[in-house]
């Protein structure tokens, strides 16, 4: 039992915090969000230089061979600074499919480029009507000689406008909600037949609905085994869910720190409002919720890689996501309430933390979705 970061993890945490303090404060973030792409190329190269893009990839690809536990401190820092660059989409999702399911040639052509910051990725999965059901894939991939032809529509593909390559789930056999028959393909975002309807998300990131119309890819675009993609999708989405739990811890810390500071400085009736017990107890409950959430983020990050039994892994990740979703709502809502009218404005960072926390609560499944999965997987 040891809940400390090890020396390498601590160094990593310190270096990203230094970078954020220097180059990613609230003002810098505002400029990035307002820019054309909504993403800073300079920040991305710095991430690459710091080695952040290589943490969870094998050494022979140029990575550090780490896991979710090693990414925890990074995700926390990203959450605290409300980083909008597509770290999760690239490192936690897109490239994970390649690292876990790709063949040697695919790994060679993609992972070093990701690690060096030359390639961004996104995972095109969600479809209209699917909600959080990962088996709901109606997009089709049909064999045409040696090639595949993909047709369908993917929704809310995070970071799609920024991505060079998309990992697309498509059905190679079976009915739209069947577990078998789902395959994964690497598709260039600029390939013929791929069109995007891009938008800015509530939490100020970039995303798009992606229409795939007769998109032709070669045999080498198939990731993993044909028709057996669902297990890999579940594995990678669980991994990304654990990471987003860690990100939530950072964003909650930001909201709690800002609120506590506000309680100590804002005066009404001639005294700091933090002297009022009604507010003190709400603040305490926010802190307690964040501590409980941190425990579950630790559990999710430790077990998502370490737990060999897929059923148990899913159950624990769901448990974590329920707690995180509940805590995200409580902390974000209370942070705004305790800030009063100022909390409602765009001018304070806390309102941006509110927006991110609100989205995290639903990302990869809301509390109710994960309560259902948690209960369904109970063996006792």
């Amino acid at each position: 039992m040891n809940f400390d970061y090890n020396e390498e993890q601590q160094l990593l945490a310190d270096s990203i915090r230094r970078f954020i303090a220097r180059d990613y404060d609230f003002e810098a973030r505002k400029k990035i969000v307002a820019s054309k792409d909504g993403c800073s190329a300079a920040v991305w190269s710095t991430f690459a230089e710091m080695g952040l893009l290589g943490i969870p990839f094998a050494a022979d690809q140029g990575g550090f061979g780490g896991g979710a536990i090693d990414l925890m401190s990074v995700m926390e820092a990203i959450g605290e600074a409300l980083v909008v660059e597509p770290y999760l989409a690239t490192v936690g999702l897109g490239a994970q499919f390649v690292a876990r399911g790709g063949g040697d040639a695919q790994k060679k052509s993609i992972l070093p480029a990701v690690i060096e910051g030359r390639l961004k990725m996104a995972f095109a999965q969600t479809e209209r009507g699917a909600r959080y059901d990962l088996a709901h894939v109606a997009t089709t991939a049909k064999k045409a000689g040696e090639a595949w032809v993909i047709d369908g529509e993917k929704c809310v593909v995070l970071a799609a406008p920024l991505a060079d390559k998309l990992v697309v789930s498509a059905r190679t056999s079976g009915q739209p909600t069947e577990a078998n028959g789902i395959s994964l393909f690497l598709v260039d975002r600029t390939a013929a037949g791929v069109s995007l309807r891009p938008y800015v998300t509530l939490d100020e990131m970039r995303a798009a609905d992606v229409v795939l119309s007769g998109v032709e890819v070669g045999a080498d675009a198939l990731l993993g085994k044909q028709g057996e993609g669902l297990a890999l999708i579940e594995e990678v989405v669980d991994f990304a869910t654990a990471l987003v739990c860690a990100e939530a811890i950072g964003a909650m810390k930001q909201a709690n720190d800002a609120t506590l500071e506000y309680l100590k400085t804002r005066k009404q009736f001639g005294v700091p409002i933090g002297t009022f017990q009604a507010l003190q107890h709400r603040m305490v409950d926010m802190v307690v919720a964040a501590e409980q959430a941190r425990s579950m983020a630790c559990l999710a990050c430790a077990k998502v890689d370490g737990e060999k039994d897929a059923r148990e892994r899913k159950r624990l990740v769901s448990a974590a996501k329920v707690k995180i979703a509940d805590a995200c709502r409580q902390v974000s809502q209370e942070a705004i309430q305790l800030h009063g009218g100022m909390g409602m404005t765009e001018e304070l960072k806390v309102s941006h933390a509110f927006r991110r926390l609100t989205m995290i609560a639903q990302q990869f499944g809301d509390a109710e979705h994960h309560l259902g999965r948690f209960a369904a997987l109970d063996r006792s």
Partner: protein
Amino acid sequence: MDLSYSPEELAFRDEVRGWLNANLPADLRRKMAQYEHLTRDDLLRWHRILAKRGWIAPSWPREWGGTDWNLVQRYIFEEECGYAGTPPLIPFGLSMCAPVLLKFGTEAQKKRFLPRIYNGDDFWCQGYSEPGSGSDLASLKTKAVRQGDQYVVNGQKIWTTLAHYADWIFCLVRTDSGVSKRQEGISFLLLDMKTPGITVRPLILMDGGHEVNEVFFDDVKVPAENLVFEEGKGWTVAKYLLGHERMNTGRIGASKRELAKLKEFAAAQTNNGRPLIEDVRFRDKLSRVEIELTALEITNLRFLDQMRRTGQPPGADVSMLKIKGTEIQQALSELMMQAVGPFAQPFRPSDGGAGFDSFAAALAPRYCNMRKTTIYAGSNEIQRNIISKMTLGL
């Protein structure tokens, strides 16, 4: 980061678990499982079984019978007791009076009281709260006046748990009322419950149980040698006790046992022709409690790990464990009552009791009884005040 116990710790857990299972008498196990009230003899019998094994007072120094277990081992032992469903160890002697004597007592006091606490010869209770002094303990009024080599005590204590079983009571009393700070002028006194002038009056709780009492003191003469530490320094003693390491505050083990029991029970109840546990509305509530409990277990281990590494006492962290631990205990007892449905209503048989389901009838009273958990040992609101002040600096 590693969330698991070491192989040594796991071996220790297995040893404790195996021993508890082999040595917990069947009738006590059954009484606990059925939520029956335990008698003085029940409590002392289990106490003596543990004393004989040498496990009754793990945190005491070795010379007085301690086990030299480290922090994690002590935590594991306490949680395993809860998980096994052993009778509770009454804390007033073992983990309240004894640590005070070890820290502040004279050699004579230690020699006189500690072995008897260890062996279960004396049953202790705690005289802190008064009718006008609950959360605001320092306002206490029970008076002790020094007359020669004795104190004369007059006043009243309330919520005195198991005073009707007790041989001894330790009390906070006011020895000086002319002080400017209320925390001064309080003393820590040990009283033999057989002393003339002490009257115990039961306070029956809404579940029908007799746990707590009022204790009246009417010109009770106490030898001055029963004063612990200095006269007027009782608040220092009381504060030491409040900060004393108690890492089982979250009661994780006991709640895990209740959770398993709830699942089994809810699976056996029928709701619209299906097992109740499959009802989504019920199941969601149950799952949320289970998740909160999982989180609390890890939170508890995180605090333990932090204490182990820094050597710092738990401080306000214990308040967090108390708040969440008691909320979970209450939620579990509420779901258990809800699970039994209409049969929550029967309370006690009014004739011989043939065919009366006493387990089902114990569930609603237990729900009633568990309301105490967020009130006792510093109400959860007081715990929030502590976190607010100590952790947040508000």
